[in-house]
Each structure stands twice: as structure tokens, then as C-alpha cells.
């Protein structure tokens, strides 16, 4: 069992939690992920690591309550325990040896873009961060990004904060103005990553995207997370999660991610809480 030592609501749908997991905290690097399971009958859900505190022995995750299991996790509080927490999985972001980097985060993807941006900065790179959100009220981690980035550009879809527009717009402007980067890293919704990759492609700038496909074990055993990259089948859990954005088959990824969507909606609508049910049976 793994203890939730800290919980903070970053906005109405995004939660930060620090979980007691000393082995993982000591080892995890930016870009790697964990898999959690809320309870005995829960799913295994992958989440990219948002931060670690090796001294305290905790791992921070930031997640959006969108699906059945993230909603269940979000319902827990400080002091509660979750059944399983395993990691660090996947390969870390290769932060070394870059002079000039642009990190692009979209929505809750910003949570995992931050440790990579920090990693690049620590490794000596000049870091530009472009963060995009739907609107002002869901902006997260602004101060943290500002503390790390040499240049920080805030974008909102509705113009309620920062600049009005998509993250690809300032990126395109920079590139058109002759700016170059050794590396662009995009983390966010699949369509956003796809368009960031499209934007950089004409300039031949190496662009990595962090993928989060359907996954079970996270160790290369099930192959559920397979993605096509440059015509080759790769397993996101062991070969990734970061891949060359110019080579990823995004259409296939989006299609595969929808495999269980109908069933998920059905379950979320019809679910009766197991704890509630257990309680009722106990009272009986």
C-alpha cells in the first residue's frame, strides 16, 4: 500500500498528489512514468511523473480527473492509501547535450513538461517554454515555469489569459523569425503534439512527443501500447514514452486510444461505489 502524503487541487479538474514511494523517488528521472492502481479491483493506469523528492521519499503526480480510475484516485485524501504504485517506467527524457530547447506543454501535459524543462535547464540549455490552456481558470504551474524558463509564453484558447491562440502560433513565429532549437519537446493532447510536430517539420528541428497510449503492465509484456513510429512497431512503455514526433503515426494512435471509450462511458455512468456497497452490506 502506498500513502498519499500530500494532495492539492490545482484547478477544478486537475489534482496534485505526492505518494510515498522511496525506491521510485530515488530513481525516477524526468520523462519517466509510474502505474497506479487505486484498489484491488482497479485498473492499472500510467501517469508521467511530475516530480520527486528523494529526501522525503515521495513521487508527485498531477492528473486530470477524466476517466473512471483518475476520478477514483482524485476522491482520495491525504493520509489515504492506494493499492499499487510502480515505477519508474519508460526511458527518461534525454536532457543532456542540448544548447537551446523549446518545451511545449498543453493543459495537464504542462505538469510533466515542467520536470523535463527543469532537466534541460539543469543540463545547461537555454529553455523556452510555451504553455497552452483552454482558459485562465485552468492555468497550472505558471510560477514554476517562470522560475525555470529563460523565455515563457502563455497561451489560452479563449484569450482570457496570456496570448490568445494555440501553442503552435508563437512556435511558428519564432521559427519564421529565424530562431532555431536543438530540440522541441511537446507534451499534451495528441492533436496538439501532432501539430507541434507539423510546425517544426519544415525546419528540420528534432521534435519529441510524449505518448500515453493504452497500457497494462508497463514493462513490455502486453504490447497494448504499441505505436507505429517510422513504419516500425514500438512499445511506448519500454521504447518510449518519448518518440520522434515527425515519425509517429498520430492517426493510428488516436484510433487505438479510443478502443474502450464506449465501455468507459458506460461504466462511469452505471458504476456503484464498491466501498459504499461494502458499507451497506456491513450495516445489513
Amino acid at each position: 500500500m502506498y500513502k498519499i502524503v500530500h494532495k492539492k487541487e490545482l484547478n477544478p479538474s486537475v489534482t496534485l498528489m505526492s505518494i510515498e514511494a522511496p525506491f521510485i523517488a530515488r530513481k525516477a528521472k524526468a520523462g519517466q512514468f509510474i502505474i497506479f492502481r487505486v484498489d484491488e479491483m482497479g485498473e492499472r493506469i500510467p501517469l508521467t511523473i511530475a516530480g520527486t523528492d528523494p529526501e522525503e521519499g515521495t513521487v508527485t503526480i498531477i492528473f486530470q480527473k477524466v476517466g473512471f480510475s483518475t476520478i477514483a484516485l482524485g476522491a482520495l485524501n491525504e493520509g489515504d492509501y492506494i493499492q499499487d504504485f510502480v515505477g519508474p517506467l519508460g526511458k527518461p527524457t534525454p536532457v543532456e547535450g542540448k544548447k537551446k530547447v523549446c518545451v511545449v506543454g498543453g493543459g495537464v501535459g504542462c505538469a510533466i513538461a515542467l520536470p523535463s524543462a527543469t532537466g534541460f535547464k539543469k543540463a545547461g540549455a537555454e529553455v523556452t517554454v510555451i504553455a497552452g490552456f483552454r482558459s485562465k481558470d485552468i492555468v497550472i504551474l505558471e510560477d514554476e515555469f517562470k522560475a525555470v524558463a529563460d523565455r515563457f509564453i502563455m497561451m489560452t484558447d479563449d484569450g482570457s489569459y496570456g496570448r490568445h491562440g494555440l501553442v503552435t502560433e508563437p512556435l511558428k513565429e519564432l521559427l519564421e523569425a529565424g530562431e532555431t532549437f536543438d530540440e522541441v519537446l511537446a507534451i499534451g493532447p495528441v492533436p496538439m503534439m501532432k501539430f507541434v510536430a507539423k510546425t517544426t517539420e519544415p525546419y528540420g528541428i528534432h521534435t519529441s512527443v510524449s505518448l500515453n497510449p493504452i497500457m497494462i503492465d508497463g514493462t513490455g509484456m502486453c504490447g497494448g501500447c504499441r505505436v507505429t513510429v517510422g513504419g516500425e512497431t514500438k512499445f511506448a512503455c519500454v521504447d518510449g514514452p518519448e518518440f520522434d514526433g515527425h515519425k509517429v503515426d498520430f492517426a493510428e494512435l488516436m484510433s487505438r486510444n479510443a478502443t474502450y471509450r464506449g465501455r468507459e462511458a458506460e461504466v462511469t455512468a452505471n458504476h456503484t461505489c464498491r466501498i459504499e456497497k461494502m458499507g451497506k452490506e456491513l450495516i445489513k
Binding site: F23, I24, K27, R37, M41, G42, E43, R44, F68, S69, Q83, D84, F85, V86, G87, P88, L89, I216, D217, G218, T219, G220, M221, C222, G223, G224, R226, T228, T233, V238, D249, E252, S255, R256, A258, T259, Y260, R263, E264, V267, R274
Partner: protein, 460 residues
């Protein structure tokens, strides 16, 4: 008085029509009377060939003699003197190619049902006594076992009995490896595996789940932590695909994924959160035991048609005869001499069919089996909405890629010497991680040998 019947005492099993739709165990096991009746078929050979066929050398005639006498406790003790996990091996061992095929009674008629008797004794003990093993006085020497499948469990158990302080590191959230993620509940109830793990813990073994060695800790770090030897029993978990068009469509998955969803994550239960695809018609590609397991799971999950598609003939199928027989009884249709060419999807990217070609057998190939050759112009479409690839697995690269000095062969299998030691001093290995995908009992045998080798190494 010896029972001279030519056939084995039948073992009761669930009716095929009923069991094809539930996940309860298929075979129900002998009663004490049946066990004694079957035990009486054993002639107690002076030179028992059966023992030689057993990878862990169970003292077969001796335990059977105790069954004849109705002393099941003594029978259990004889079995467990060489085999730590009889409830498992009695169920999933291919006895027909190991012990039973060497039985003298098999020369004329059927051999003694050694597997059924072993299972009976193990089940009887669990149901009637189930004494937890007593801790042996510790010698304080720490040994790490990576993986909690049949190799790891056996190795850990044998080392603990010798007094070592053993820690087992399991990557998944439940201990048991392939016994819990791969082999379905209806062939090996998970409660039995859990009972074996509890027994291991009673011996003082520390079982740590959610520990992916190679990621959270490397083998080198285990040595730094004070472990004096490491046994790697990490299995062969990496699934293969065919690399034909359409394999990325929704509804195509590896047998590993399908079985893991169904078994480990218990997707067959309404209570479980993990989904598994609800299929009408399923094609399982491959002819091994894993293919049979996947096909039989598909039937139990409610499919109307389940096909096993295999490119060679039925005689060449690597699956145990008993598994093939059970699968057919449950209504699974065998499409042998048939090879997939491509998988076809609908407008939503979901599988709607698989194009196959008929095959014929030519000359024997390197494996000694007759090579399948496509019959030109014999293409046809199999209407399915799910395709499960069961083409075999290879060892996971996670440990070899994070451990300097650990050599592997071309297939990624760890290279070991005659003492199960890898190319790294103090690192031993066994089971599928060394052999590639094989059987539970061979892995148990390797775990046993590994424990002996580690003991010898540490006492040098």
C-alpha cells in the same frame, strides 16, 4: 491387489457446455476413493522410468504407494521433498511427455495418471492440513530472486529452506508471474497460487511486488544492498506479432494482453474496472498452449465463434493434447493449415475480418516439423471482430540492457553455464529467461537447480 484396468480412472470435470461459459476450474479432481483406485494401477517398478522423466525427480512410485495405503499426508511429504509446488505441477505439467510417457502401464493401455494423483495429494493436503512450513534457522545471507513465476518461487523456497534470507522482487502487483497473468483461472485457480506464496512468506521469504528490476533497482544495486547472489527468473514476457497489415487495428492484441486483462486484471468479473473487448467472433493465431488458453477465455467471455488459426496441421500443434481436446469440447473451431495474410478493418478502425490462405505441408524444416507452404489462390476471409496473436514470446530485455556483463544469445535468452550461473559472477538465471518460452515444470526444475548452485557458490 493391483488394478489391471487398461485405462486411467476418469477424473470428473464440468460439462463442456456449462464450463465454456464460466471461469470455474474445468477438472474437478479425484475423490479419495478414485485416487486409491488409480494408485492401485501403479506396479511400483524397481527401476522407475517415470522419475527420470520428471524435471524435479518427484519420487513417483513412493508417493503413489502411500496413496494406495490411504496415507495422503505421507504422500504429500514425499512429493514436496523434491517438488515445492505440486498443486501447480499436478495441473499444468505435460505429463504425457515427461513422466507418464515412460510408465510401463502405458505400453499396453494408458499409463498411470501420475499428474492427477499428484494434484489429488496436493489438494487433499491444502484442504485438510495446509500446515504452514516452519522457518529454518537463518544463516543471515541475503539472496535476491527476480521474478515470482514458477522458477523464482521454487528457487526462493529451496533457498529459504536452506536458511538463506530471500527477497523476491516481482514487477506486477501480484506474485506468481505467468501462473497469475497467463494461465487462466479455469486451469489453475489463483487461490492455489496465492496459497503457495503465503507458504513462501511463512518460510521467511520477503515478497516485494511492484518492483521492476532493471528500472527501480539494477542487479548491481542489489549487490550494493548486501545481496550476495541473485537469481533471475524474469520469464519470457515479450510478445511477438506477425508484422502483417492491420495489426494495429482496434481488436488486435497479443495473447499476453488478452490473458492479462482476463486473468490478472480479472476483466471477466463485473467487479473489475479493467475492460476486455466483448467479441462476437475471435480468431486466435497460433497453436500452442497459450493459444488454447486465449481461445477458451474468449469462449467464456461470450464469443459466438472462436477459431484457432494455425499454419501447420493438427498433428504439428504444440499445444498439449488435453488442452486441444478440452478446447474442441467447448466448441472452439480449429482452422489448421491456414495462415493469416492481413487483418481488415471497418471505417472506425475496428477489426471486421482476417484474410487467410490455405496451406499444405512440404518437407521437414529445421524444427523437424513439415514446412507449411501456401496454396496459391486459396485466399479466403474469416469474419471476426477480434484477432489474438499467440505466436510466442521472447525474454524481456529490461534486465540484460541494464546489467553490464550479462550476455545473451541471439534470441535474447540469458546465457548460463552448467551451474545456472550467467556470465556475471554471482548472478544465476533459470526458466524462460534462459530457455525462451517453455513449461512451468522446466522453470521449476531450473529454479531448483539454481538454488543448489547458489548454495554451492556461497559456500565456496
Amino acid at each position: 491387489m493391483a488394478n489391471m484396468k487398461m485405462t486411467k480412472t476418469p477424473m470428473p470435470e464440468q460439462d463442456p457446455k456449462v464450463r465454456a461459459r464460466n471461469f470455474k476450474e474445468v477438472t474437478l479432481g479425484y475423490t479419495a476413493e478414485m485416487a486409491i483406485e488409480e494408485a492401485n494401477r501403479c506396479l511400483g517398478c524397481k527401476k522407475p522410468m517415470c522419475v527420470q522423466g520428471c524435471p524435479v525427480n518427484v519420487r513417483i512410485p513412493e508417493f503413489i504407494k502411500k496413496v494406495q495405503e490411504g496415507d495422503f499426508k505421507a504422500a504429500y511429504e514425499i512429493i514436496t521433498s523434491t517438488n515445492a509446488l505440486p498443486a501447480l505441477s499436478g495441473r499444468v505439467c505435460p505429463q504425457e511427455t515427461q513422466c507418464e510417457c515412460r510408465c510401463v502401464r502405458g505400453v499396453k493401455g494408458e499409463p498411470v495418471a501420475i499428474g492427477r494423483l499428484e494434484r489429488f495429494v496436493a489438494d487433499w493436503y491444502r484442504e485438510n492440513i495446509n500446515a504452514m512450513p516452519e522457518k529454518v534457522e537463518s544463516n543471515g545471507i541475503k539472496v535476491a530472486v527476480v521474478g515470482s513465476g514458477p522458477a523464482g518461487l521454487t528457487c526462493a523456497s529451496d533457498l529459504a529452506k536452506k536458511g538463506y534470507k530471500v527477497s523476491v522482487f516481482e514487477a506486477l502487483h501480484t506474485a506468481g508471474g505467468v501462473l497469475v497473468y497467463g494461465i487462466p483461472e479455469f486451469r489453475l485457480p489463483k487461490a492455489i497460487v496465492a496459497n503457495e506464496v503465503t507458504k513462501l512468506e511463512a518460510l521467511g521469504v520477503e515478497v516485494m511486488t511492484n518492483m521492476v528490476i532493471g528500472r527501480v533497482l539494477t542487479i548491481d544495486e542489489l549487490f550494493e544492498m548486501g545481496y550476495k547472489a541473485v537469481f533471475v527468473g524474469s520469464g519470457a514476457g515479450l510478445p511477438m506479432f506477425m508484422n502483417i497489415p492491420g495489426e494495429s487495428l482496434k481488436g488486435v492484441m497479443s495473447a499476453n494482453e488478452y490473458l492479462t486483462r482476463t486473468n490478472l486484471m480479472k476483466a471477466y468479473s463485473e467487479e473489475a474496472d479493467t475492460p476486455v473487448i466483448k467479441s462476437k467472433a475471435v480468431a486466435v493465431v497460433g497453436g500452442g498452449n497459450v493459444a488454447m488458453d486465449a481461445a477458451r477465455c474468449a469462449m467464456r467471455l461470450g464469443a459466438e465463434h472462436v477459431y484457432v488459426v494455425y499454419r501447420r496441421g493438427e498433428a504439428e500443434m504444440p499445444a498439449r493434447l488435453e488442452e486441444q481436446h478440452h478446447a474442441k469440447e467447448e466448441g472452439i473451431e480449429f482452422k489448421t493449415l491456414c495462415n493469416p495474410l492481413k487483418i481488415v478493418g471497418d471505417e472506425n478502425g475496428r477489426v471486421c475480418g482476417m484474410e487467410c490462405i490455405r496451406m499444405e505441408l512440404g518437407e521437414p524444416d529445421a524444427s523437424g516439423r513439415r514446412r507449411p507452404i501456401a496454396i496459391e489462390g486459396s485466399e479466403f476471409m474469416l469474419e471476426v471482430d477480434t484477432v489474438i496473436m499467440s505466436l510466442g514470446t521472447s525474454p524481456n530485455p529490461l534486465i540484460r540492457s541494464t546489467t553490464p556483463g550479462l550476455d545473451t544469445n541471439r534470441k535474447g535468452c540469458l546465457i548460463v553455464d552448467e551451474n545456472e550461473m550467467t556470465t556475471r559472477e554471482g548472478v544465476f538465471a533459470g526458466g524462460d529467461a534462459v530457455t525462451g518460452a517453455a513449461t512451468v515444470i522446466l522453470a521449476m526444475g531450473a529454479g531448483k537447480k539454481g538454488a543448489e548452485a547458489i548454495d554451492a557458490f556461497l559456500n565456496k
